[in-house]
Symmetry: none
Subunit: 226 residues, 2 copies
């Protein structure tokens, strides 16, 4: 798996643990950042916008829960996953942690294997959408990085506009995009083009990927069905 595109931030005041966990996770290919107290954790989080934060509950100065509360107040860290490290069997901190906005907890002492599979599971569940590749149905794959579309594993070339349009629809399958929305997101706010332009592009895409995937919702717009 391409773990290298995930940023993890570990916040713990014990150097040993920090190093130990950092080492384990780096070996799996993750980009690892560390901080040894709550304040530093917050500032690193704001700077790096990690995908997942592993945070010790008990720390001197600022405890993990307060730190998480502050992190959750930051809009750009809205989607960031947070995992608490707690001493075994402390129910109390688990609860407070969830209230503060944590997504999971792991009890100490930590076994690296457990940590890793847990981290992977969380990432898989929550971030599966924006992984560059969008899979719409088994036979349609859109690779945003490579700028290509695969239909039944066969590469299909789409010109820029068609690609953008298809990508937009595919990013939220089944969602109906109004013509307005499509204009704004594909053509841009300022560009003014005729009414039939979208239709023509849709038609061209349909010619290439078949007529079944893009559905017309008359009076509203288009959607990519899944």
């Amino acid at each position: 798996m391409d773990n290298d595109k995930y940023k993890l931030l570990i916040v713990d005041d014990e150097e040993d643990i920090l190093e130990f966990l950092g080492y384990s996770l780096k070996r799996e290919g993750f980009q690892v950042f560390t901080a040894s107290n709550g304040k530093d954790g917050i500032s690193k989080a704001k700077k790096e916008i990690p995908h997942l934060i592993i945070m010790d509950v008990m720390m001197p100065e600022m405890d993990g829960i307060s730190a998480v509360e502050e992190i959750r107040n930051n809009k750009s860290l809205d989607e960031t996953l947070i995992v608490f490290l707690t001493a075994r069997s402390e129910d109390y901190s688990q609860i407070a942690g969830f209230e503060a906005g944590a997504d999971d907890y792991i009890a100490k002492p930590i076994k690296p294997k457990v940590l890793i599979s847990r981290v992977k599971a969380l990432l898989r569940r929550s971030l599966k959408k924006d992984s560059g590749k969008i899979v719409v149905v088994g036979n349609l794959v859109i690779d945003q990085e490579k700028f290509e579309v695969l239909l039944d594993g066969k590469k299909i070339i789409l010109p820029k506009k068609e690609f953008k349009l298809l990508k937009l629809l595919a990013a939220s399958p089944n969602k109906v995009f109004t013509r307005e929305e499509i204009f704004v997101k594909v053509w841009g706010d300022d560009v003014i083009v005729g009414d039939r332009t979208i239709d023509v592009h849709v038609r061209k895409i349909r010619e290439k990927i078949g007529d079944n995937l893009i559905k017309t919702v008359k009076g509203i717009g288009y959607k990519l069905e899944n």
Copy 2:
């Protein structure tokens, strides 16, 4: 928090646990439904369209995983969160439940406080985005984003005006909407159309969703009964 707007379904074969969990969650204000086996769980899920289902993995007759697989096949339950209850110490990355479409697991024995905070965490995280769904009764779901209506989990296509009209009624079930109100909200303040136009639209909707849901209130208007 307004926990009362969330429906939870607990499925477990042990009466004790069912009661115990149900009690704890009700105390928090959630609407709680229970089922003591997989089959019953599925039918209750289809009827109530809960926001979250707590399901024991090990049950006689139909195990939790099979039940979840079936639940995931129902379109109206697409967004429902599913939490598994598992025996202690099974490393959760190994559990087939995730494959089946579960969103989390909780190990037995269950501490109510942990359960509650976990449930809250899941609801908080997952349901803040897709507030576009209106559920009227178990068998009628209106999805504004997808512009589709599900009747018993089966998709129904409505043209724009019909959709708007049904959505309006569904947004406040049991409220009677006057013709005036309907004209203003569906057709707009300026458009002038004949008196029978609404009737015809109502008729078309009834053709598609059945005659029972939309009631005529003679002399006043229409309402969607629940």
